[in-house]
């Protein structure tokens, strides 16, 4: 790999000031993605700022009064720890399921929550520096648009980029209406609603998200919800484990007796960001939780899908996945 400087920092302030001092620097958390990308010459940071010593690994209860029950998970908490933390297991089983559906035990033991959010696409053209790719090298073209695009997007893509965002964890976070807390170079902090964190490719596919250069993710906040007992993460993949999703659905249902008060549905493997199925959610609001309604909601959502040459199957698969995820959520995760 290309030579780089290794810098270890002890606190967030030092991390962001180091990043501000070198626009070519990258943070190093678990390293399971950034190091791979460097070996493949895809990422070429001149400096790695190791943030593993930052005190950002807690998972804690926050919120007062009406918000009592909200939690915050640290950017540097490991995926494994997060998935298995009692606060998460009890109140956000959707998040536990989504994290455990990703990667492998070894990788989840290294992977952090911040790194997970910022992992980059698995588009094979992005990974192969001999190929054109607007995300890796703006202006070179999109290799996948007319190439092998079975794994690629059916929603929200542009001619510039048809990649999908690969995280499982983030699909659950989207359904859970999480908030991403970040800290900038001057120490200023901001909160980014999850729906605004990742972005569609548009004309700038090189930007995966709305973080400003040098900004550090510190925590992810989760509001409490009323569908802990009725949620499900469904991941469809080419093999039973250790594969990225062909398509996934995170579903949560808040019931009011027999009718759906509120449905939350987010899809993975279909777009450049976690795809909130707002059409389906809207359709289901106030309706009975029946298979027929689930199917009609799925139909409504998938109507606007624009598949590419090799991923036409994702439209039908998406419908089935929405119905199945909702049915599984309704039955408390049991088939």
């Amino acid at each position: 790999m290309r030579p780089f400087v290794y810098t270890r920092v002890d606190d967030a302030a030092k991390a962001v000031s180091s990043a501000a001092a070198n626009t070519q620097a990258s943070f190093l958390a678990g390293g399971t993605n950034i190091v791979d990308l460097m070996k493949e010459d895809v990422a070429r940071p001149t400096e790695l700022i190791d943030i593993n010593r930052l005190k950002l690994a807690q998972i804690r209860l926050i919120g007062e009064g009406a918000n009592r029950g909200n939690i915050a998970i640290g950017a540097l908490a490991k995926n494994t720890e997060t998935a298995n933390h009692p606060l998460v297991r009890q109140n956000y089983p959707l998040l536990t399921q989504a994290i455990l559906a990703g990667a492998s035990g070894q990788i989840r033991n290294m992977a952090t929550n911040g790194g997970n959010l910022n992992q980059r696409t698995r588009c094979t053209y992005f990974y192969d520096v001999a190929m054109p790719c607007n995300k890796r090298e703006p202006g070179t073209g999109c290799g996948a648009l007319e190439g092998i695009n079975r794994m690629h997007a059916i929603f929200g893509w542009s001619e510039k980029c048809v990649a999908v965002y690969p995280s499982d964890m983030a699909i659950a976070l989207a359904a859970l209406d999480a908030t991403v807390k970040v800290q900038g170079a001057n120490g200023a902090t901001r909160s980014i609603p999850f729906a605004e964190y990742h972005r569609l490719p548009g004309d700038n596919p090189e930007k995966d998200n709305t973080l400003q250069p040098g900004e550090l993710i510190t925590e992810i906040e989760l509001p409490k919800n009323n569908f802990a007992g009725k949620s499900y993460y469904l991941k469809i993949r080419d093999r039973a484990s250790y594969a990225f999703a062909l398509l996934s659905v995170a579903a949560g249902l808040e019931m009011n007796g027999a009718t759906i008060k509120q449905a939350r549905i987010a899809m993975g493997g279909v777009a450049h960001k976690p795809w909130r199925a707002l059409e389906a959610e809207k359709f289901l609001s106030g309706k009975a939780a029946t298979e027929a309604n689930f199917a009609a909601a799925a139909e409504a959502e998938m109507k606007s899908a624009k598949p590419l040459e090799h991923n036409k199957f994702k439209v039908e698969l998406g419908k089935r996945a929405i119905v199945r995820a909702l049915s599984m959520a309704m039955s408390g995760g049991k088939a």
Binding site: M1, P3, R122, I148
Partner: protein
């Protein structure tokens, strides 16, 4: 004197297992050679044309770089015919994407890799043939004699008048071997004309010969050392370009050089299993007697290298059918040469044949096992020779019993369990049994306390399958010693020449040589003692009687005379139970049983591993593995294990293997038929047939991914 203690056929644990799990077994690059430099390859990024210019200036400036070698300054060599895949920098032609364009040698691996990134190559592109669908129609008859059309009877009219017929195309994609250990080589020039290669080679003497000829050296001056192999599956059968380049690099910097391929490089450096489009036509009478069978394969090979795996072989030997036609057509394309891949031809061919038989059984409303048994041939239909042994019927019967076949529902979608369709499938497989010339040395030593030990030496190889162990067992039983009194030395071309661990010839060739060598030692010693024995004396007794501290003998073992009057093959029957999710199309093989008739089983423990390993690859072939080329460039778009899927633990349920007790006194002295290849043959068809039984969907194009089932 007592009966020999039985060691052959016992479940002896690997004698090298401890070394392997404790990390003391040296694989290619593990040898602690001092003063090594590191080579890193760079590759062509076009599929056809010429390298016009290579700018190496930036790379040469990188700290630690010792040399950059391209076709412009590469040593001139005389490529051996045994060399595969080209790419040894003898000219500027590019025939496939990823052909080696040069290498950097540096003090460290990272320096070499970094410098290799800085190389700039200018090309003149030519039109590249990279799209199989487009060039399929240019396929012609192969040059290889054994791929000529094979015609028996009158297929056309027999097929036309068949009462029930199947006429379908079955497709299998490009697959890669991708053994756990990527290919790697250390090259050391001991003198200007003396070379040592640390490598992972399935055919030790083959690599020795190819390297010697390429560098114009005496074969005896090239020593290939390869004690352990981290899997090969055919990809480590030949000498590939990088082996030569490692030696070229060592010469260029006058130091030992390590050269290792990255996982990504493994996709375009060491061959592949070619894509096959198989047109299968099968006809039968109303009561299920086969009358006509055509198995016609179209595939691709490299521009200047022809390799066509024999898909039609299964159709030649499996069933009694009076009219048959087997043919191959091959298109030369700008894709790296295909090569032997586990169960060459048979694994892919059996997918077509055994799916078609299943389709016919369904049309005939017959049980697929009974249909197969009905068409069981008394002699090899391809040549009229008697079988030295054949246990297809026993495999089917015993396998069915072990599997619980009687619980199968003949109609698809009849077995629904919650969210899943459940299906059972069966398919047979076969692979030829052969013994090849192999020499071996047996050394007997009587040490302190009259402890007798034996050393067995031959240039065999162990793919990780347990060769070392079965040879120790063979020697132990033959000599009347314990396994722990035997040391086995293989994987070194300085030892007596041996066959390779390829084509399931390894066990038969090596073990028979060791067996004969041990017998020879005993006979020669007995002659020296001038005594008569009632029971066969042990090596210890004979050394004692002859009053010798050491005895050594060598044997040059050959296949027994007359075996060519028979047809010798291993056979199996594979059974799979699949669960297909009704809404997502995800498939899991919940249970798998292989029943195998492969002559004498030397070690049921390592044999079981071999068979279930083949079974798991077969499951991968059925459900996961596929290498995709982007025809616009000719590169593999699937170039890591994130895209090229092999089964994970969760995909594989219970794996069972049963062996048929088969005594074959004809095939060779020890009655060994070989199990390495046959284990994968028929597996993909068994899974595909089970998926049909589960869902009613017949998928004729592998792999069967969820999108094909929704």
């Amino acid at each position: 004197m007592s009966e020999r203690k039985k060691v052959i056929g016992e479940a002896v644990s690997r004698i090298d297992g401890f070394m392997k799990v404790t990390g003391t077994a040296n694989y290619a690059t593990d040898f602690p050679i001092s003063n090594t430099a590191y080579a890193f390859l760079f590759k062509s990024e076009i599929a056809a044309g010429k390298v016009m210019d290579i700018d190496t200036s930036a790379a040469e400036k990188v700290t630690g770089v010792l040399a950059v070698v391209t076709h412009k300054n590469a040593a001139k060599l005389t490529p051996s015919r045994g060399l595969r895949g080209g790419g040894i920098l003898q000219d500027n032609n590019v025939e496939f994407w990823g052909e080696h364009a040069g290498f950097v040698v540096a003090e460290t691996f990272e320096q070499a890799r970094y410098a290799a990134r800085l190389i700039e190559i200018k090309y003149e592109k030519a039109a590249a043939k990279t799209d199989f669908e487009k060039h399929e129609k240019e396929a012609v008859k192969p040059k290889a004699e054994d791929r000529a059309d094979k015609i028996r009877g009158d297929f056309a009219s027999a097929f036309q008048t068949g009462a029930v017929t199947v006429d379908e195309i079955y497709e299998t994609p490009i697959e890669h071997h991708q053994p756990m250990a990527p290919h790697a080589t250390i090259a050391v020039w001991d003198a200007a004309d003396k070379l040592t290669i640390y490598n992972e080679s399935q055919v030790v003497n083959g690599v020795q010969g190819a390297v010697a000829q390429t560098f114009g050296l005496e074969p005896k001056n090239v020593r290939v050392i390869t004690p352990h192999i981290g899997g090969g599956f055919g990809s480590k059968g030949g000498a590939w370009g990088h082996v030569i380049l490692a030696a070229m690099a060592a010469k260029a910097v006058n130091r030992p050089v390590k050269l290792a391929l990255t996982r990504q490089m493994m996709f375009d450096s060491v061959g592949l299993r070619q894509k096959n489009v198989q047109h299968l036509r099968l006809a039968a009478t109303k009561d299920g007697k086969f009358t006509a069978l055509a198995h016609e394969t179209t595939t691709h090979s490299a521009i200047n290298e022809e390799f066509v795996e024999p898909c039609g072989d299964v159709s030649a030997h499996m069933y009694e059918v009076p009219n048959s036609r087997i043919s191959y057509r091959v298109a030369a394309m700008n894709i790296i040469t295909p090569t032997y891949t586990r169960g060459p031809g048979k694994s892919t061919g059996s997918f077509a044949l055994e799916s078609a038989v299943d389709e016919l059984a369904y049309k005939l409303k017959m049980d697929p096992i009974e249909l197969r048994i009905k068409n069981e041939p008394a002699k090899d239909p391809s040549n009229g020779k008697p079988w030295s042994s054949r246990s297809v019927v026993e495999c089917l019967r015993k396998g069915a019993e072990a599997f619980g076949w009687s619980n199968r529902k003949a109609q698809p979608r009849a077995n629904v369990q919650g969210d899943f369709y459940v299906g059972f499938g069966v398919a047979c497989g076969t692979y030829p049994a052969r013994q090849r010339d192999t020499s071996a040395i047996v050394k007997l030593t009587r040490g302190a306390g009259a402890n007798v030990t034996a050393a067995i030496e031959l240039a065999a190889s162990d793919l990780g399958t347990g060769t070392n162990t079965i040879l120790a067992q063979t020697a132990a039983e033959t000599l009347g010693l314990d396994v722990n009194q035997i040391s086995v030395k293989i994987g070194d071309s300085a030892l007596p020449p041996a066959a390779g661990s390829v084509g399931s010839v390894g066990a038969a060739s090596f073990a028979n040589a060791v067996y004969e060598g041990c017998l020879k030692a005993l006979n020669e010693l007995q002659a020296k003692t001038n005594r008569q024995y009632f029971n066969a004396p042990t090596a210890a007794e004979l050394l004692d009687a002859a009053n010798l501290k050491f005895y050594e003998t060598r044997v040059d073992a050959k296949p027994p005379e007359g075996t060519d009057k028979y047809s010798s093959h291993s056979f199996n029957a594979n059974f799979a139970e699949v669960w297909v999710n009704r809404s997502t199309g995800m498939t899991r093989v919940k249970r798998f049983v292989a029943a195998t008739g492969a002559g004498r089983i030397l070690n049921p423990k390592t044999a079981h591993s071999q068979i279930i390993g083949g079974g798991i690859w077969g499951i991968g072939m059925a459900l996961h593995e596929e290498s995709l080329i982007d025809p616009r460039y000719g590169n593999f778009a699937t170039r890591s294990f994130a895209d090229y899927h092999i089964p994970s633990n969760l995909d594989v349920g219970e794996m069972k293997s049963v062996f048929i007790n088969e005594e074959d006194k004809i095939v060779n002295k020890m009655g060994i038929k070989g199990i390495g290849e046959v284990g994968i043959v028929g597996v993909a068809a068994a899974v595909a047939n089970a998926i049909f039984n589960a869902t009613g969907k017949r998928v004729r194009s592998l792999p069967i991914t969820p999108d094909k089932l929704i």
